[in-house]
């Protein structure tokens, strides 16, 4: 490992060597390495091929800003695409692969096209593959194959994820020097503090500048002391490897913690999460998110071996990796100097090329002492090399204008580091509407420390444009003083010294690109060159948001962390505007990519969605029920016996209900207990029909309308006493109806004395259906007179069933003799089993929702949500009988029924439909039209709402809406429609929707 140096500040553990695989080749690294640092240490320079031109690319950054080093980590179910090698912690046995470069990294097919890159400008795909338009799907397929990085896992994820909610008085985002100081001051004041930091180790950029001293201590000792104190405070929580990726209104911050991916496979615990999504609600937020260094833009600036100066410093100081032996540092500011000095001290040859005319004397002296050659007033027009950087072409720049005066020397090098200044990490600040301001003195979009203090958001450190450590710490102190004072807390600065040994920085030069004729890239990940921005401006794109979308500047997994500000500045130059006039694009969550697993958390598998079960579930499972979800309830759909398909099962279940006895679990229906002296009046207003005369012991069906007069729910309501009614609602509508009742009572009719409470879960309901149901019930019930005269249709009775207190309703959704037996749900399973036992001699048949639907359709009973869709009045349903227009007080929806549109007689109306072919079952949703000629335009008369095969009738039946259908039903010659679906128009006759027992003889027995 020729690129390793050992020094006392390195954070890698040279006593713990690790081996890993990249692209099929085995390499050595050390504990504490990232994949990127280990690859650089092994001299691996090319790790990717570029998106559009297939150019070789190397590692540029050291953290989340990295645009090139997207790698595929791990294999099989654990494989993860497009992680940045700079953020992947090394463990023994790690398997990584490139995500670009086909057929290989050494030769990429796209690079052949890349040679003609001047023929592939921004908008190339839009412009080229436009014609003929029908070929686009083909073009798209080919383009999509060529584009993209990495591969999604195809095996199910074997890992688990979860969410955790936090409520803290203060959240600090960022564990660099200023973030640590902020957390310490807040922690000492007694606030509950959470600090999140995205790296494996706290310290931020201090880890890259270990020779700096703070308060007389070296940076590592200073931060270790603070971290130790923070860990000792019970009111402070530190979360490492945790990236705050979104800041929402009211200071809700989302952060994702990587919990296991840094561990050796064998060390990962199956009971532990792979990632955890933290949802943090913080009264105050301190953003100490720092800054990323942006590179300068020049010709061939994308060659492997060209990195940012801060990355150079980080790899050297933190990981003991020298990226080369002959390094050129190109800079527009003083920030890059320290790394040059550090490397020179380690014996590496360093040359500085500074675009500024003069140099700070203190630095000049140090450079001289170390033999660092400096070129002042020079830039680099282009890097030389084909697969990696071999040298640089210097150019002398005009002292003021950004123009080349003359060519300079050609210098050989194996690494070129550049610094164009720092771009504060303002992303979180901007997520909920904050905007950064351009600061010309800092050459950066910055945010102010307390501009959003009213919202509880404070900013400290480099995010505010303060790039000197000492000044950053002092201003952090001042900001925390203000914050803590606003909370009535005192600041405790004991044993804190914030002085550093920094050399005062000279002003940076405002320069973003160095003039060149060679290809100069702004955004590496999307292959956006200076010429692309030029082209966008030439083609009259004016807004930076449009230039971004035309060129793809700032897209991708790095979201332009390195490239955006350069792009804005270059666009400004070309538009003849200032940078603040051009402004920034919009910063939106997520700051860095977040896995679907983390977002889903526990909402997967059997906890994906609440599954509501009735007390009879065990019986249903035992009888092999297939289930369907209704309003989160798991309802038996049908009960297939061995060898039966759904149709066979449903036919059998239907015939059992019509000819013998069958049983349905009706527990899921909403049940609302309503009491008070005004309960009848309340129901008169809530329902379309009248409730004043319903006697205790009786039930009635009711239609509930919304204000527009449209049917919203239905159900049977029983009069328990003059002041006590029990309402049933549809399964899916229960919660909505409950809120509806409360809303009308609380806001419109508070004078009515009624209270209502949901008893849905308290009762289980077994519907015993069929001609033999009375005989079955009689075996279990001795205290209710089941005689047809004593216990009539639409009556209810209290009694006991199988020894359990029960309320039995003689109501029917099938048209058969039926009893709905309600018991305390604790006894639900027991009573169901007793009913099954009692019914065994009659071959009692459990049935599900599908049979329930067929039985009710045979009777023409509607299902709210199937026959209704929010645009259907009771009259449209031919249910005028369920509307009490003469009630003294109005009811909800009454006035709307008088609107000209609802009152007209030629609306779409519900009718029955019979096909000519009794075996043809119409398609639900089929359009109903007047003729079999389907040549457009075809007037659409309505549609099929319900359609089944009726085993009892031995033919198909259907219901549907037809314009003026009620009249047409009885008009011979005008009663034929065609149902159009699947390219066929099938003839059907409009008939009554009651197909079975119109006179009600079957249930009145």
């Amino acid at each position: 490992m020729s690129n390793r140096v050992t020094h006392k500040h390195s954070r890698v553990d040279f006593s713990k060597p690790l081996s890993f695989t990249f692209d099929g080749k085995i390499y050595q690294g050390f504990a504490g390495d990232t994949l990127a640092s280990a690859l650089l240490a092994n001299g691996v320079k090319t790790i990717a091929r570029s998106f559009k031109y297939g150019r070789p690319r190397g590692i540029v950054g050291a953290w989340a800003e990295e645009p090139n080093a997207l790698v595929q980590i791990d294999v099989g179910a654990r494989t993860t695409p497009d992680l940045k090698a700079t953020q992947v912690e090394l463990y023994d046995g790690l398997v990584a692969a490139r995500t670009s470069g086909w057929p290989s990294l050494a030769f990429d097919l796209k690079s052949v096209g890349g040679k003609f890159s001047r023929f592939m400008p921004a908008g190339f795909y839009y412009k080229t593959f436009k014609w003929p338009s029908k070929f686009w799907p083909l073009y798209e397929d080919i383009i999509r194959r060529a584009a993209g990085y990495g591969k999604s896992p195809i095996e199910p994820d074997t890992e688990t994820y979860d969410h955790k909610h936090h409520h803290v008085e203060l959240l600090v985002v960022g564990g660099g020097a200023c973030g640590l100081l902020a957390a310490l001051l807040a922690g000492r004041s007694g606030l509950s503090v959470l600090l999140v930091d995205d790296q494996s180790e706290l310290g931020g950029y201090l880890l890259s500048m270990p020779n700096m001293t703070i308060g007389g201590l070296d940076a590592a000792t200073w931060s270790a002391k603070i971290i130790a104190e923070l860990r000792s405070l019970p009111n402070v929580t530190l979360l490492e490897r945790t990236t705050a990726f979104a800041l929402h209104d009211m200071n809700m911050i989302q952060a994702v913690e990587l919990m296991q991916d840094h561990l050796l496979h064998q060390a990962r615990k199956s009971e532990q999460r792979r990632e955890r999504l933290h949802r943090i609600r913080a009264a105050k937020v301190v953003l100490a998110t720092g800054a990323f260094e942006r590179p300068l833009v020049f010709g061939n600036n994308d060659l492997p071996g060209i990195i940012t100066a801060s990355a150079l410093a980080t790899y050297f100081s933190r990981y003991g990796v020298v990226c080369g032996n002959n390094i050129v540092v190109l800079t527009s500011n003083d920030l890059a100097y320290q790394s040059a000095v550090d490397l020179a001290e380690a014996g590496i040859k360093v040359t500085i090329v500074d675009v500024r005319e003069s140099i700070n004397l203190a630095w000049a002296a140090r450079f001289k002492a170390l033999g660092i050659m400096t070129y002042m007033g020079y830039g680099i027009s282009e890097a030389i090399g084909s697969s990696e950087v071999k040298g640089v072409q210097l150019v002398k720049l005009n002292a003021k204008a950004n123009v080349v005066i003359e060519s300079g020397p050609l210098i050989a090098c194996d690494v070129l580091a550049s610094s164009g200044g720092l771009s504060p990490t303002v992303h979180l600040f901007c997520h909920d509407g904050g905007r950064p301001q351009w600061d010309e003195s800092k050459l950066a979009f910055v945010v102010s420390a307390n501009a959003r203090a009213n919202a509880g958001i404070y900013c400290v450190g480099a995010i505010t444009g303060v790039f000197s450590l000492c000044e950053g710490l002092e201003k952090t102190f001042a900001t925390m003083f203000e914050l803590l004072k606003s909370l009535g807390k005192k600041i405790d600065d004991s044993e804190l010294s914030l002085e550093t040994d920094e050399i005062t920085a000279s002003p940076a030069r405002a320069i973003y690109r160095i003039p060149t004729t060679a290809k100069a890239f702004v955004d590496f990940q999307n292959d956006v060159a200076v010429t692309d921005i030029e082209l966008a401006v030439r083609e009259n794109y004016r807004s930076i948001e449009h230039i971004k979308r035309y060129t793809a500047l700032g897209f991708g997994t790095d979201q332009g962390k390195l490239s955006n500000v350069n792009g804005f500045a270059i666009a400004a130059e070309m538009l003849g505007k200032t940078i603040p006039e051009v402004g920034t694009t919009t910063y939106r969550p997520a700051y860095t990519p977040v896995s679907f697993g983390a977002l889903a958390g526990a909402h997967v598998g059997d906890t994906f969605e609440p599954r509501r079960y009735t007390a009879m579930q065990a019986s249903h499972t035992q009888f092999q029920a297939e289930f369907e979800t209704v309003g989160q309830w798991m309802r038996p759909w049908y009960f297939p016996k061995a060898g039966e398909d759904m149709h066979a099962a449903v036919n059998r279940e239907c015939l059992a209900a019509r000819n013998g006895v069958a049983i349905l679990d009706a527990s899921t229906l909403g049940k609302i207990d309503i009491r008070g002296k005004d309960v009848r009046e309340f129901l008169n207003r809530i329902y379309a029909n009248a409730w004043s005369q319903l006697a205790p012991g009786k039930c009635r069906y009711g239609l509930m309308l919304n204000e527009a007069g449209m049917v919203m729910d239905d159900g049977v309501t029983a009069c328990i006493s003059d002041t006590h009614f029990l309402m049933t609602t549809t399964t899916g509508g229960a919660a909505g109806v409950m809120s509806w009742l409360e809303k009308w009572h609380q806001t419109e009719w508070p004078e009515l004395e009624v209270y209502m409470t949901s008893v849905t879960d308290n009762w289980t309901t077994a519907a015993l259906v069929g001609p033999k149901s009375r005989e079955v019930l009689a075996k279990l019930c001795s205290d209710i007179d089941l005689d047809k005269e004593a216990f009539k249709f639409m009556d209810w009775r209290d009694g006991t069933v199988a020894g359990v207190p029960a309320r039995v309703f003689r109501i029917s959704f099938s048209g058969e003799l039926a009893y709905e037996i309600n018991v305390d749900a604790s006894y639900g399973h027991y009573v169901w089993e007793e009913l099954m036992k009692a019914g065994a001699e009659f071959d009692i048949t459990p049935y599900g929702t599908e049979t329930m639907h067929v039985l009710r359709a045979e009777k023409g009973f509607i299902i709210v949500g199937q026959e209704t869709d929010g645009s259907v009045t009771p009259f449209d349903l031919d249910m005028a009988w369920a509307v009490g227009m003469k009630k003294p007080y109005s009811f909800i929806g009454k006035r709307s029924l008088a609107r000209s549109d609802t009152a007209r007689t030629d609306r779409k109306q519900l009718v029955g439909l019979l096909t000519e072919d009794p075996n043809f079952v119409l398609k639900e949703g089929a359009q109903l039209i007047n003729s079999e000629n389907t040549t457009p335009p075809v007037p659409m008369l309505g549609h099929v709402t319900s359609s089944y095969y009726s085993a009892f009738l031995g033919r198909s039946i259907a219901m549907g809406f037809v314009i003026d259908g009620i009249k047409r039903r009885s008009e011979e010659g005008n009663n034929i429609v065609y149902a159009w679906a699947d390219g066929k128009a099938v003839k059907a006759k409009i008939v009554s929707s009651v197909f079975v027992d119109a006179e009600g003889a079957r249930h009145n027995v």
Binding site: R612, G676, Y755, T760
Partner: protein, 205 residues
């Protein structure tokens, strides 16, 4: 009609998990311990808290005054009264006591507009304790448990559904609807996995 004889059997909402078969005495081996407190009596009560006649009559029947402060609960010798909304309470007691309590309440409240309902089949209670009980709940609910002081009960989120939640001893009680029980228990189990999840022997709590 002949007299029939039956032996009715009750099942709690979490019956199918067969929790008691797997229960153990609480120790430090798990971060979280939980179990269902099965088949309690639940009475829903509604009435006007501003009406002194109502509150007095309720107090007479229950032996303790109804909690009137938002989100408060009162512990009585026979169980708990939870404030659910300004005119709504949930009364929880042993199943054998609830009929008597309900009758007393109904009798005392005659003439005062009210609603007294036996909702015993509709609810269940799970208790949760152990050193990571709060951690587990923080995975399940957005509620700030630091704000859940003794004597406070809140209706809050739990995964994609809701529970009533209060501190109980050195742990928590979760009260929720029967039909959501399966989901809530599975969610709790999943959330507790990293901490170690034990089914607590009720006698040891």
């Amino acid at each position: 009609m002949s007299k029939l004889t039956f032996s009715p059997v009750m099942q709690s909402p979490l019956h199918h998990f067969n929790l008691n078969a797997n229960q153990q005495p609480i120790d430090t081996s798990k971060g979280v311990w939980a179990n269902e407190i099965t088949l309690l009596g639940y009475i829903s009560l509604r009435g006007n808290a501003q009406n002194v006649l109502f509150t007095k009559a309720a107090k007479k029947a229950l032996g303790v005054a109804l909690p009137i402060l938002p989100c408060s609960l009162i512990s009585a010798s026979w169980g708990y009264i939870y404030w659910l909304s300004p005119d709504e309470w949930l009364i929880v007691c042993a199943r054998e006591l609830h009929a008597e309590l309900q009758q007393k309440l109904e009798a005392a409240l005659v003439g005062n507009h009210n609603q007294v309902i036996d909702n015993s089949g509709g609810f269940t209670t799970v208790f949760l304790q152990g050193k990571n009980a709060s951690d587990v709940l923080h995975h399940c609910t957005v509620y700030d448990l630091n704000a859940l002081t003794t004597g406070k009960v809140v209706g809050t989120t739990f995964g994609k559904t809701s529970v009533f939640l209060h501190q109980h001893g050195n742990g928590y009680n979760l009260i929720f609807r029967r039909s959501f029980a399966d989901y809530i228990w599975r969610y709790l189990e999943r959330s507790a996995l990293p901490y170690g999840f034990g089914i607590a022997n009720l006698g040891s709590s």
